[in-house]
């Protein structure tokens, strides 16, 4: 591989995961010439693409990730401050502009080189490559639980350390003393023998002309003073007094409002539109038909179908007028498609096994099942899920013939900007995107459909437009966590040992390892068949782990019970060669007081899930009474290698657990006559205060490579819940959501009891 040089592109080629051959881009030594104008104001010096220092000695982290609640911006700032030896009180952050200079390679790396550990010496070269690729693909993504473990670990810390060295270098020249006699602390430089000292700001301009080292010296974990501390989040004060700015809070001069409705059957077209009543209503400015548009997201591109928007002088008037439009949509021949027909299709395709692709094949499955003394089979099913971010998709846009400007909250600002440019027929430079706090993202806001709809409306109206989805539109026009069926077969030998594991499921997306199990089962046959539907799907917090975590950790529990074994001990015995996983499992059992007897009607269940580089163990305790399930308590343990902000990590894990629990208990999007049937929190509810469990989260700093925190809490809660319900009732929940399962005891379900209950 080539050397790290000042500029230019080396001739070596590398084949990336997409099959593209990319020249190894060499990251320029100092980006201030190309990016300085984007991010600096008066009195500010950009010292590194991720860091500027102003004349008051305040240092600002410029972060290529969006804030959707996860708090990563504060944690990334901690990483920068740590290596910079900065005074925490002088640190702040801002989000990077949607510019190629800030394309992030976090997901690029993850997607192209998943599971590959690079030797440190190669990292700069590979990063250069991925930087180029990320730029080309328009990646500036927040997702994949990547911010800290990739951007932070590989780039932000290096930026802080490099700038510290640059400041030392500049001071050394000015003071005429050797660099190794200068020390740094609290955003100041010190030369102790001469008694000189100066704030960083004094040398910021000189340091900005120094080329950063590509191998700055990073601190070791034992030296951290800012990392590892639970620093209060910088964004929180603005989120308690109403001043935090979300995209919907933007107001442009002369702005009007749009309400929108897209075809109920995904991909459908508008056959007939009568807008005469709507146009006659007061305040209505225009009714606009938007032809099928391309919506691209992290998991693919779709034709999103036609939509209609009403533009009015207030959002309320726009919504009212939208309601009286007479609309007729094509159903694309999907009017017979229902959730029932979709699951019938899955069942058929799994049984047929046509073109089954194999994830794992070890040992001879047929022989293993032949030799087994106990066989176990089960089919698991999960429904489609919507994201229901608290803030529905919305955007504000001004678009002319040769310019577009958009105010939005999204998970991929650069990608959105490119999507707009491509679909509006503009050059990238003609599109400006301002990104705001997101009121939840969870994967939904990585799809640019709502940005493009807004821009098209704004261009047609010729004035600034704010477009807002109603809650019904949000639920009906999502990119859903797919519905999935997964079929299992397990074989146990005479000693109750699990000797064979077979699994076939429909449709594989990301991450590839989601269906795999960590347990030492000698014979494994895990594979999948394609069974596509017309329902759009996308990334949903923890992506494929959200379904496979439920499937595999429930079925392993079934195997334990079939073997007559304790589900915790059964797992532990198969993890002898996986010390990190075993340590998490043991710790969560210990913290949850596993084995302590429980009252009648109560139960506890355990799960273990590795995802996004982190290992999470969970124990759920439930009470089941009269067929109703109460989740009393969730104990979680996470090993993410190292917690940069322990409180932030706990908040993320607990958030992920509630998100997963909402889905496991209540979440179900159904398809009727080809369209989504749900439309509000009344028929697509979430966990609320009165049914939220008590939670506790314990952190293991194992020192292993850093993992993510935003998603790993989610996959393990559904199986631990279902396992707890089995412990309480003897009934196995194999189809989510739990609320649909009949969990009444025989006595409770008997006609006499039912009559009394009625």
């Amino acid at each position: 591989m080539g050397k790290w040089t000042r500029r230019g592109v080396l001739s070596a080629g590398v084949v990336g995961g997409t099959g593209l051959v990319i020249g190894i881009a060499v990251r320029p030594g100092n980006p201030t010439e190309t990016a300085g104008h984007l991010v600096t104001g008066k009195g500010e010096n950009l010292l590194h693409i991720y860091l500027k220092i102003d004349d008051q000695n305040r240092a600002t982290a410029i972060l290529p990730h969006s804030e959707m609640g996860q708090g990563a911006q504060t944690a990334l700032t901690q990483m920068l401050a740590e290596e910079l030896d900065a005074d925490w009180d002088l640190m702040r952050f801002e989000e990077a502009p949607a510019d190629g200079a800030y394309a992030n390679m976090a997901l690029g790396r993850g997607y192209l080189f998943a599971g590959v550990n690079f030797p440190d010496a190669v990292v700069p070269t590979v990063d250069g490559l991925v930087l180029k690729l990320a730029d080309a693909l328009g990646m500036q993504i927040t997702g994949g639980s990547m911010s800290i473990r990739s951007t932070g670990q590989y780039f932000i810390r290096a930026a802080g350390a490099a700038v510290r060295e640059m400041l030392v270098n500049a001071a050394s020249k000015a003071w005429g003393v050797p660099q190794d006699e200068i020390r740094t602390a609290n955003s100041r430089l010190y030369h102790d023998t001469s008694g000189r000292s100066a704030p960083y700001s004094e040398f910021a301009a000189a340091a900005a002309r120094v080329t950063p080292s590509s191998t700055p010296k990073l601190k070791k974990a034992g030296q951290f003073t800012v990392m590892g501390q639970s620093k209060p989040r910088h964004d929180i004060p603005s989120k308690v007094d109403g001043t935090a700015m979300f995209a919907m809070d933007v107001k442009r001069p002369g702005m009007v409002y749009a309400a929108i409705r897209r075809t109920p059957v995904a991909g459908g077209t508008l056959l007939r539109l009568d807008d005469s009543k709507a146009r006659a209503m007061s305040g209505v400015i225009d009714v606009i038909k938007i032809d099928a548009l391309k919506a691209s997201g992290m998991l693919g591109a779709y034709s999103a179908g036609d939509s209609v928007a009403v533009v009015a002088d207030s959002y309320w008037r726009a919504e009212k007028a939208l309601a009286v439009l007479e609309l007729e949509w094509s159903t694309k021949g999907k009017e017979q498609v229902s959730s029932a027909s979709i699951f019938e299709q899955f069942d058929r395709d799994i049984t047929a096994g046509v073109n089954r692709l194999v994830d794992v094949a070890s040992g001879d499955a047929d022989a293993a099942f032949d030799s087994a003394t106990t066989l176990l089979t089960a089919d698991y099913r999960v429904p489609y899920l919507a994201h229901t971010c608290m803030e529905p998709p919305n955007a504000t846009a001004e678009v002319t013939a040769d310019r577009a400007e958009i105010w939005i909250g999204c998970q991929n600002p650069l990608g959105f900007r490119q999507h707009l440019a491509a679909n509006l027929g503009l050059d990238l430079e003609q599109v400006t995107l301002h990104n705001y706090f997101m009121g939840g993202g969870f994967g939904r806001k990585s799809n640019a459909d709502y940005a493009l709809q807004t821009a098209i409306i704004a261009r047609r109206v010729g004035r600034p437009v704010q477009m807002v989805y109603s809650r019904a539109e949000d639920i009906k026009q999502d990119f859903y966590r797919p519905a999935v069926q997964s079929r299992f077969k397990a074989g146990l030998d005479a000693d109750g040992k699990l000797i064979a594991w077979q699994n076939t499921y429909v449709d594989k997306h990301e991450p590839a390892e989601a269906p795999l199990i960590p347990y030492a089962v000698p014979t494994q046959d895990i594979g999948h068949v394609a069974s596509p539907t017309h329902v759009p799907f996308g990334a949903w917090r923890s992506v494929d782990h959200s379904q496979h975590g439920f499937f595999t950790e429930s079925f392993i529990d079934e195997a334990a019970h079939a073997a007559g074994r304790d589900p915790y001990e059964f797992r532990a015995e198969m993890l002898k060669d996986k010390p990190r996983l075993l340590a998490v499992l043991n710790r969560v059992a210990q913290e949850a007081n596993w084995g302590r007897p429980m009252e009648e009607g109560r139960g506890r269940g355990i799960s273990l899930q590795e995802s996004f580089g982190s290992i999470v163990g969970q124990v759920v305790e439930v009470t089941v009474s009269g067929g109703k399930t109460w989740v009393d308590r969730v104990v979680a343990v996470i090993d993410a290698g190292y917690a940069v902000s322990p409180d932030g990590m706990k908040a993320q894990i607990e958030s992920g657990i509630i998100y997963g629990l909402s889905a496991a208990m209540y979440g179900e999007i159904t398809i009727e006559q080809g369209a989504v049937a749900q439309s509000s929190f009344a028929d697509y509810d979430a966990i609320r205060m009165h049914d939220a469990p008590v939670m506790e989260t314990h952190i293991i700093n194992s020192g292993a490579a850093m993992g993510g925190a935003g998603e790993p809490g989610t996959p393990g809660v559904a199986p631990a819940l279902a396992n707890a319900i089995f412990d309480a009732t003897g009934k196995r929940v194999r189809t989510l959501p739990v609320i649909k399962a009949d969990l009444r005891s025989d006595a409770e379900a008997s006609p006499s009891v039912a009559a009394v209950g009625a």
């Binding site: 308690v240 109403g242 309320w316 997101m438 009121g439 929190f681 939220a692």
Partner: protein, 163 residues
């Protein structure tokens, strides 16, 4: 024409009388701290105080506010800018993640404490069950309410804090 007091100031608006207060407050009166979440009183993001009681502004016709005293999240602070005890507790407990629902959570909690300065867990459940938080910060919200409960008394009618 509807005239009411908003965060201590008399305001008059001229709009369709059935327009929900949420949109009047956000679009015409430019106070954007009150959030749109569902438009059907199912999520609580739009909660305001009307004469001291928590109310979902997304289904409150503006005409019903005639003569009323209305407080939004922007008016929860004291007149001197001091944070309401709950706002400080929200910071102390690091409650918000995305933060979008928190204006509504705070307004519901403030109305609860105004009426019941030392709520039980089930009182908190009942007062807060109308407020969805998709980031799932219910445990922290409960801790923050308890931090303030008993410690002070909030007068929602006056929009300030006593004792």
């Amino acid at each position: 024409m509807t005239t009411f007091t908003l965060n201590g100031e008399v305001r008059t608006v001229n709009t369709d009388p059935e327009t929900p207060a949420l949109w009047v407050i956000r679009e015409q009166l430019d106070l954007t701290g009150t959030k749109f979440g569902c438009g059907m009183a199912q999520c609580g993001a739009c909660t305001i105080h009307v004469n001291g009681r928590a109310q979902r502004s997304c289904i409150t016709p503006v005409s019903s506010l005639e003569g009323a005293s209305v407080t939004t999240i922007e008016g929860l602070k004291g007149a001197d800018g001091t944070l309401h005890a709950l706002q400080q507790a929200w910071i102390d407990q690091q409650v918000p993640q995305c933060g979008y629902c928190q204006s509504g959570q705070l307004m519901s909690a403030a109305a609860l404490l105004a009426e019941n300065p030392s709520p039980s867990d089930s009182d908190i459940d009942n007062a807060m069950r109308g407020n969805v938080c998709r980031c799932g910060m219910y445990g922290r919200i409960r801790s923050a309410i308890k931090q303030v409960a008993d410690a002070s008394f909030y007068d929602a009618m006056e929009g300030n804090q006593n004792g």
